[in-house]
């Protein structure tokens, strides 16, 4: 039924950029869900790293409360870094990236679709898991919402910045540390804003300003990162 409906609506064969955006998003989500192991990797990594801290440092609640936010943010950063390679590498290797570059649609929206899909399968699960890990690290109750909101704003920025780094390095044979060296310095402002926001709510101060700054960072990253990624991809396939 729906198929024939779309056939009627799409009298001519051309499709809008929005449709192409949706098709790319759907495809990437499908790839992610079909390769389940890769899907769970960043989440498991996040969980394991965070749970090492109480064991490695001290199970003392006061100390844990002090370091909780930092630990959560740094682990989220590393987990996101771990999953970034999936963003363009397999597409580069099997040639799908070339098809994407040669599509008549704006590469800006195509990379945005891929980044959104990456965040949905790697960033969002971290945000959802974070309250549990916050509990493990004795995060004070009043800080939970701030932590979730800042992670919700911060993890998409990590995916967006990461996309630039991966796009630049996708054609290199041995990437090793170079990806981390490109992305981690760029991620420092997010790390600072995120930990400051949660820190200030724990001190009883207002957090509106910090969250607004993160929102602004997200807006800037969302508008510029796909552009930079698209340009970097064109260079990488050269």
């Amino acid at each position: 039924m729906t198929e024939s409906e779309t056939e009627i609506i799409m009298g001519e064969r051309g499709i809008s950029t929005f449709e192409a955006f949706r098709a790319t998003l759907k495809r990437d989500l499908l790839v992610a869900f079909k390769g389940r192991n890769e899907l769970l990797n960043p989440l498991m990594f996040f969980f394991i790293v965070v749970s090492l801290f109480p064991i490695g440092i001290t199970p003392d609640r006061e100390v844990l409360t002090e370091i909780a936010v930092g630990v959560l943010w740094v682990s989220a950063l590393l987990a996101s870094l771990l999953s970034l390679d999936n963003l363009y590498r397999s597409d580069y290797e099997d040639g799908s990236l070339e098809l994407l570059l040669l599509s008549p649609h704006s590469l800006y929206f195509m990379t945005l679709a891929k980044i959104l899909s990456h965040w949905l399968v790697s960033g969002l699960p971290l945000v959802l898991l974070s309250p549990l890990l916050g509990y493990m690290l004795a995060l004070p109750t009043e800080a939970y919402w701030t932590m979730i909101v800042t992670l919700l704003l911060g993890t998409p920025i990590l995916s967006l910045l990461g996309s630039i780094g991966v796009a630049l390095t996708v054609s290199l044979g041995s990437r090793g540390l170079i990806l981390a060296m490109i992305i981690l310095p760029m991620s420092v402002p997010i790390l600072i804003a995120g930990t400051l926001a949660v820190g200030s709510v724990m001190d009883g101060n207002p957090v509106g300003g910090h969250i607004a700054i993160m929102g602004a960072m997200l807006a800037v990253a969302a508008s510029l990162a796909p552009l930079a990624s698209a340009a970097a991809l064109r260079i990488s396939v050269n």
Binding site: T6, T24, R27, S96, E98, L101, L102, N238
Partner: protein, 218 residues
């Protein structure tokens, strides 16, 4: 600019004075060619003579070159989107994701160029001998079958210009025949093909050759 500029609007694609150098080695210099509707241009040359690079330059995947490429008389870089909506490219890496099934792969790659229905994709796959494999993950398929998945795009896409880089490599005798029929059909319908292959093409009409070997080496 060359002295005689071909004003014939039937010329779909023309290249003038193409020059490309790679690692201090000139691949080709002052290379000119035209491709009209309903024509096949077979690029010939030994390994490493720059066939793939030429194809990638035409598609805009490689930009370290000099010279002018035009699409229906206008410079290509001014009308990328228009050009890309009429272009179908198949490279060495065929663009088939190993995790996805042929159906899912084609649904995405064809959707980039226009709306498609699952029936259309299924019949294209069946026509290329992949009936029954529609839903198996592509890593279960052989290299030749993956190539066929990518070739199914030729049946679905409305593109007028096909740019095919060594499309015959992994195909069996039957596949070669299928592809030749596809090419012949496309040409009969006014489409054009830019192809590199060492295979002797069995297409009846409008085939031209571009030899790269003697262009670059002085």
């Amino acid at each position: 600019m060359p002295s005689e500029v071909n004003q014939n609007t039937q010329n779909m694609l023309s290249a003038r004075q193409l020059f490309c150098e790679r690692d201090d080695r000139v691949l080709f210099d002052s290379l000119d060619f035209d491709l009209a509707e309903g024509e096949v241009l077979q690029v010939q040359g030994g390994n490493g003579s720059g066939k793939t690079t030429l194809l990638r330059i035409i598609c805009g995947l490689h930009d370290s070159f000099e010279g002018a490429i035009s699409w229906y008389g206008d410079p290509i870089e001014k009308q990328r989107e228009l050009f890309y909506s009429s272009l179908l490219y198949m490279g060495h890496r065929v663009g088939v994701n190993k995790i996805l099934s042929p159906l899912e792969n084609l649904r995405w790659s064809c959707s980039m160029h226009g709306s498609t229905t699952p029936t259309q994709i299924e019949s294209a796959l069946a026509q290329l001998g992949l009936r029954g494999y529609e839903n198996s993950p592509c890593h279960m398929l052989s290299a030749g079958q993956q190539q066929r998945v990518s070739l199914a795009r030729l049946l679905i896409s409305p593109a007028k210009l096909w740019v095919l880089d060594e499309p015959f490599t992994t195909l069996d005798a039957h596949g070669v025949k299928d592809l030749e029929n596809l090419l012949a059909n496309h040409v009969d319908n006014g489409g054009s093909v830019l192809v590199t292959t060492h295979h002797k093409l069995n297409v009846s009409s409008g085939i031209h050759y571009l030899k790269l070997d003697d262009v670059g080496h002085d």
